[in-house]
């Protein structure tokens, strides 16, 4: 019961971001009040830099961030799981991906996103999603490969391999089912990392473009009016904070781990 309670915040935020657009009272692109107007009747969080309703934009601006992050997290975790399991069976491939990870450490994600995002013809979220997958997979691969190695060395995989099963079948039927706990943790971590990357990209104006309602972009656009209507910046900041913190708490609860294994000794 306590576990369910700790899952609730994350479920509530995700639900709110997904169905939020249905509850937006005003348009996300048309001004309804004065620029940086303080909260008043009809606009509980006031207006933004051109007088658009902050609450409506807040309700609309989380969905794309959530969908993009979830997409990145699922693809990165899936790729890392398959590559990690294959690498555990075929060490030579593992070494190649390991090199890639060591290479990409040298390129901080924010820099990589900007270079790839700008080199991509056209703009929008697609290049950000592609960049996040390319830059994120090698790191997730390391985790998956480390977890897959002992499973690949175990007796039942050897038996299945001796039976003449192909690599793909070994990966899907023998190895991946035994990595559930690791992959669930990985999915949670990759989702939080994806939110970080997608939001930072939007904040740096790579990705979501004005006048789209987007939490990170709202923070960037309204920064100059923080004194006039603090809610225009505070509300989307809090939204992102609540999203990442609640999701990380939820995955903490979901993953079975050896808690407090350590005995009090000191």
């Amino acid at each position: 019961m306590k576990r369910v309670l700790r899952l609730l915040p994350a479920l509530a935020v995700i639900l709110l971001a997904v169905v939020g657009p249905l509850f937006a009272a005003h348009s996300s692109t048309e001004p309804v009040t004065a620029p940086y107007a303080l909260p008043g009747p009809g606009t509980p969080l006031g207006g933004d830099q051109v007088g658009r309703d902050v609450l409506s934009r807040l309700l609309i601006g989380g969905r794309d961030l959530m969908i993009a992050s979830a997409l990145i997290a699922v693809i990165v975790t899936g790729l890392a799981a398959i590559l990690g399991a294959v690498a555990a069976l075929r060490p030579r491939l593992g070494a190649v991906i390991e090199q890639t990870a060591d290479l990409l450490i040298l390129l901080p994600v924010a820099l990589g996103i900007m270079v790839i995002g700008v080199a991509w013809p056209g703009s929008g979220r697609i290049p950000v999603i592609v960049a996040a997958i390319v830059l994120g997979t090698p790191f997730a691969f390391r985790v998956a490969a480390a977890a897959a190695a002992p499973v690949a060395a175990s007796g039942f995989v050897e038996v299945a391999s001796a039976r003449g099963e192909r690599t793909l079948s070994l990966v899907i039927r023998e190895i991946l089912p035994n990595l559930r706990a690791t992959l669930l943790t990985l999915l949670g971590l990759r989702f939080i990392e994806a939110v970080y990357v997608v939001a930072t990209a939007s904040f740096l104006e790579v990705g979501a473009q004005p006048p789209t309602a987007d939490w990170a972009l709202m923070i960037r656009e309204n920064a100059d009016g923080t004194l006039l209507n603090p809610w225009a910046v505070l509300a989307p900041s809090l939204a992102i904070a609540v999203l990442t913190v609640s999701v990380s708490l939820a995955f903490d609860v979901l993953t079975p781990q050896a808690r407090n294994r350590m005995v009090t000794r000191l």
Binding site: L106, V115, V195, V245, M262
Partner: protein, 319 residues
């Protein structure tokens, strides 16, 4: 004899490790050069504007060396890098003149953020591991998990609202003096905090678990039996063994800090390399973008090498 053989083998292994890091840096430079190469608009067009005539464009291309094959330009650029010459920007200025001072500013900002991170992470991680499972330990662990999920620009906005707009304690905007440096040290405080917060969360977790792994070690055991004071056990018996893991964690943080500066410098209007990058990308200034990535990659490579050396040293010390 065996001792000397082992140490020379360790030295060879370390040399291979370091050479591999250098090789990876070169690969990164090739990839960056190629990625910037496929930018849709070229630098000649970006600097001349859309009204430029074809003849003007061709002249500017020749001036920037854009009419030569990619391989020639890359070799030329690499040769310059080796001698500290970063080349000429798309606007015809020496890249080092544009990048030099901001790069130093960013290094100061990043180094201070890193020092704060290491101190805070060591303190919090040690406090937590001394009381495993107690309220303080659980508090430190939950708090560090929460902080580490927050993007820098969200933390930065929180800090600005509280310390600059609410309490009027610290400036929220960096003013650049005529020397190209931030005008006062107080202007560094909020950017440092914004950068360090996420890294403190990340490293506190690493320090705590690295120290906790040392608890069952036999020499720690006997130190506890001997009734040595806690801080002595922590510093002299547990920390040395935990050091390689902690060093690797801090090395990873260097990359994250150098990524984080892009957003943090944008918010605080800090005259650093992040601001240069944003401007360079807006202008499709290929040599400038490549220089920023090269300098960042170089710093990270050096730090990773240092962390490799710490690990080699720690392994060599083991009986």
């Amino acid at each position: 004899m065996a001792e000397r053989l082992r140490s020379s083998r360790t030295a060879a292994l370390v040399a291979v490790l370091l050479l591999r890091r250098m090789a990876l840096l070169v690969v990164l430079l090739v990839m960056t050069f190629l990625a910037v190469e496929i930018l849709p608009a070229d630098a000649a067009r970006a600097t001349l504007g859309f009204e430029a005539s074809p003849a003007e464009l061709a002249a500017r291309r020749r001036q920037l060396g854009l009419d030569q094959p990619v391989a020639v330009r890359f070799l030329h650029w690499m040769r310059g890098l080796a001698t500290g010459d970063l080349g000429v920007s798309a606007r015809g200025r020496q890249v080092w003149d544009i990048v030099g001072q901001p790069f130093q500013n960013t290094l100061v900002l990043g180094a201070l953020a890193l020092v704060l991170t290491v101190l805070a992470a060591l303190a919090l991680g040690s406090l937590a591991v001394l009381r495993p499972g107690k309220l303080l330990d659980r508090g430190v662990r939950s708090l560090s998990t929460m902080i580490l999920t927050l993007p820098e620009f969200v933390v930065a906005n929180g800090l600005i609202v509280v310390f600059a707009l609410g309490l009027h304690l610290l400036p929220s905007v960096t003013v650049t003096s005529s020397s190209g440096k931030p005008a006062s040290p107080a202007m560094l405080v909020l950017p440092i905090l914004a950068l360090a917060m996420r890294q403190i969360g990340w490293n506190t977790r690493i320090v705590r678990s690295a120290l906790a792994e040392q608890l069952p070690a036999p020499h720690v055991d006997s130190a506890i039996m001997d009734g040595l004071p806690r801080h002595r056990i922590l510093i002299h018996y547990m920390l040395p063994g935990a050091l390689p893991t902690i060093a690797a964690g801090v090395a990873t943080s260097v990359g994250m800090v150098l990524g984080g500066v892009v957003a943090v410098e944008t918010i605080f209007n800090f005259p650093g390399i992040g601001a240069v990058l944003v401007e360079a990308i807006r202008n499709r200034d290929a040599p400038l973008v490549a220089a920023v990535v090269a300098l960042t990659g170089l710093v990270i490579t050096v730090v990773l090498m240092a962390s490799d050396l710490v690990r080699a040293w720690a392994v060599g010390r083991k009986p």
